[in-house]
């Protein structure tokens, strides 16, 4: 399986502020009633975007900037801390990715969300609290300026600004080498897998 090397994402950005944004908010459970991920993009942040009366609410995902990202099918979402907490549903990063977001920049990410995103080839970069505040402010003030998420050089930059960013070394390695989906590696090594399995009594039902 040949995958693109993701060393850099350069795109317009959207700030979606707040800490502890859970995956129920990103994609409400009723949209999990499906057997494929198709069409999830249009429901990203559905209940944050639309009120119970069916009217649009004030939310960054309802902005013209969000629409530009959806049209371009690439974009950077700037988020807060513990983004993607809660449920393990891959539907959450799938919906944002299908909407058009190809990178996340935040203070921290919930682990399962992080893994689900990077396995889709969507980097989740972490900035320090101060840098994140600066990045967030810059993105809001300069919607026309593209943000560069550099996975290889571990930085996020926009205009004249550059912030130091981090990502788990294994995720970075996978992205820049075009091996962010681990299936090819996992399918190798059939022999050592069989050896470990043979050493585990419970696998044999004992």
């Amino acid at each position: 399986m040949s995958l693109a090397k993701i060393t850099q994402v350069k795109a317009l950005a959207l700030a979606v502020p707040g800490d502890d944004i859970d995956t129920d908010r990103i994609i409400p459970a009723r949209f999990l009633r499906c057997v494929t991920f198709d069409g999830l993009g249009e429901h990203a942040f559905r209940d944050e975007r639309t009120g119970p009366d069916g009217k649009e609410r004030a939310h960054p995902m309802n902005s013209a900037q969000a629409a530009r990202i959806a049209a371009a099918k690439q974009g950077v979402m700037v988020v807060g801390f513990n983004f993607g907490c809660g449920s393990s549903r891959e539907h959450a990063p799938q919906s944002l990715w299908r909407y058009g977001f190809t990178a996340f920049v935040g203070g921290s990410f919930a682990e399962i969300f992080f893994g689900n995103s990077t396995t889709l080839g969507v980097p989740c970069m972490t900035l320090s609290k101060e840098d994140l505040a600066e990045c967030d402010a810059f993105v809001r003030a300069n919607p026309d300026v593209e943000v560069t998420v550099d996975v290889e050089k571990l930085s996020v930059s926009a205009g004249a600004k550059t912030w130091k960013a981090s990502i788990a070394a294994s995720a970075r390695d996978g992205l820049v080498k075009g091996k962010w989906d681990p299936i090819a590696d996992l399918l190798e090594g059939t022999e050592p897998v069989a050896k470990v399995a043979a050493g585990l009594a419970y696998v044999a039902g004992k």
Partner: protein, 468 residues
């Protein structure tokens, strides 16, 4: 060298180091359900791959099953499509399916322990964040995404990085009316909803030693709500006794060897932890959430926090929470009107939960203003409860007695809040919109506190209502 259970299990299941530095980890037990598996089977077909160890994957259906209609097709055609997809996938690939017709269906985190599939010293993965529940048996159990479900189906392995281990010790005896649920809500309140990122939680101390396996499951279940992907309790005699005789438990000839093996996985005395936190059981009181994250919790007799006492980030989340919950800072939560009461979920839908509440419910009546439902987590639990006559106690008190499933914990089936109803819930998440209505409100609490709310129509102290 002295090692933690986490390290021992990790080493026993390590296949090799991957080029990116991660570990290829063997997943001995894989659990699947209808929501996060169909896409994985789709990927498998697209890639032309087979299921490598079909006998090590176990399936059930829980999220979408209605709890008040037994006949198929279900009134929700999408739910019907999802259950049929799982039937087809498990049949095509030779996977054991604990279907609704078998009397063994239930929430996936209840089926594993009930069947004896959940065992100490094993690795367990499931496309469900509450998989840490199985850690109560001394397993390393964690939630995974759907692409990872594909990985396990195709290779029985995952690419993972090891976690740090934080020992959370709780010592002493809980006061009457204080439960395992209060313990985990208190831990999350103190350590935060993101405090566990990067950690496995090892729950220990005399309080956990005294806990039944079901109480341990309640605590491990909510590890993810504290940010920890995995949580466990070291296995002991109670663990072995619980497993003994279950359908998938080792048979008589293998039993002694299995117990010796299981015991050897417990953390060694003198092993090194990356962090240790200690709590006193006596200081924990019945705990309820007031906000939109499980960490926004207080003791029932406390006031909700004043905004000026919070730091900037917590204050922003709290303002959002108060607006959603329609509650006011610096006021008591006690006395808040309740519309719906939900007793169930993988956190608190087990037989011990149903028995404990039933003990106090006899002769009491659910308030006329409250809709109260009790949803046993599994068919086996429901059958046992009926056998003990518990269903009658609930029905006489005014609860609706329902069939097994996840139900109103996340409202993927027809059990949903309406409008801004407030639900006293024994489940695990109070996220905005979690219980099926965008403006619905959830207050998490122990099962007995849910019963007290049902009777009084208010968030209240079960110790006073039931003279505990």
């Amino acid at each position: 060298m002295a090692k933690t259970l986490f390290q021992k299990v990790w080493e026993a299941h390590t296949v090799r180091k991957l080029p990116n530095g991660q570990t290829q980890l063997f997943i001995g037990t894989h659990l699947i359900h209808e929501v996060t598996s169909p896409q994985a089977f789709g990927m498998l077909r697209d890639l032309g791959l087979k299921v490598k160890y079909p006998q090590r994957t176990f399936a059930t259906v829980d999220h979408i099953v209605p709890t008040n209609e037994l006949k198929e097709p279900y009134s929700d055609p999408i739910a019907q499509e999802m259950i049929e997809a799982l039937r087809k996938n498990t049949k095509d690939y030779g996977i054991r399916f604990f279907d609704t017709t078998t009397g063994t269906q239930g929430i996936v985190h209840m089926v594993g322990p009930e069947q004896g599939i959940t065992q100490p010293g094993t690795t367990i993965a499931c496309g469900d964040s509450h998989t840490a529940t199985h850690g109560a048996f001394g397993a390393i159990a964690f939630g995974i995404g759907t692409t990872q479900v594909r990985d396990v189906l195709a290779t029985q392995t995952l690419a993972l990085s090891p976690l740090k281990v934080r020992r959370i010790e709780v010592n002493g005896k809980l006061a009457p009316g204080v439960y395992a649920k209060d313990v985990i809500l208190h831990i999350i309140r103190v350590l935060g909803v993101n405090g566990g990122i990067g950690y496995a939680y090892e729950y220990a101390g005399t309080t956990f030693d005294g806990f039944s396996l079901e109480e341990r499951m309640t605590v491990c279940n909510m590890s993810i709500e504290g940010g920890a992907r995995c949580g466990y309790v070291n296995p002991d005699q109670k663990t072995f006794d619980y497993i003994k005789g279950k359908p998938y438990a080792p048979k008589a000839a293998d039993w002694d060897a299995a117990v010796a093996r299981w015991a050897s996985f417990a953390s060694d005395a003198g092993c090194q932890y990356d962090d240790v936190k200690v709590f006193k059981a006596e200081e924990i009181r019945p705990t309820v959430t007031w906000g939109i994250t499980p960490g926004q919790a207080i003791f029932i007799d406390e006031k909700m926090p004043a905004l000026e006492t919070l730091n900037a980030a917590d204050r922003q989340t709290a303002e959002d929470a108060y607006a959603h919950m329609k509650l006011a800072p610096n006021t008591p939560i006690k006395g808040t009107k309740v519309d719906v009461c939900f007793l169930g979920s993988c956190t608190n839908g087990r037989i011990s939960d149903l028995r404990e509440v039933a003990k106090y419910l006899k002769g009491r009546k659910v308030s006329a203003s409250v809709k109260a439902i009790v949803v046993p987590g599994s068919q086996l639990t429901a059958i046992q409860a009926v056998h003990e006559g518990l269903d009658k106690i609930y029905i006489e008190a005014g609860f609706e007695w329902r069939g097994a499933g996840c139900s109103m914990c996340l409202a993927m089936n027809p059990d949903k809040l309406v409008g801004d109803q407030l639900c006293a819930s024994s489940s695990n998440r109070n996220f905005k919109g979690r219980q099926g209505s965008q403006t619905g409100r959830t207050v998490l609490m122990s099962p007995l506190m849910v019963a007290a709310a049902a009777i009084t129509g208010q968030v209240t102290d079960a110790r006073e209502v039931f003279k505990v």
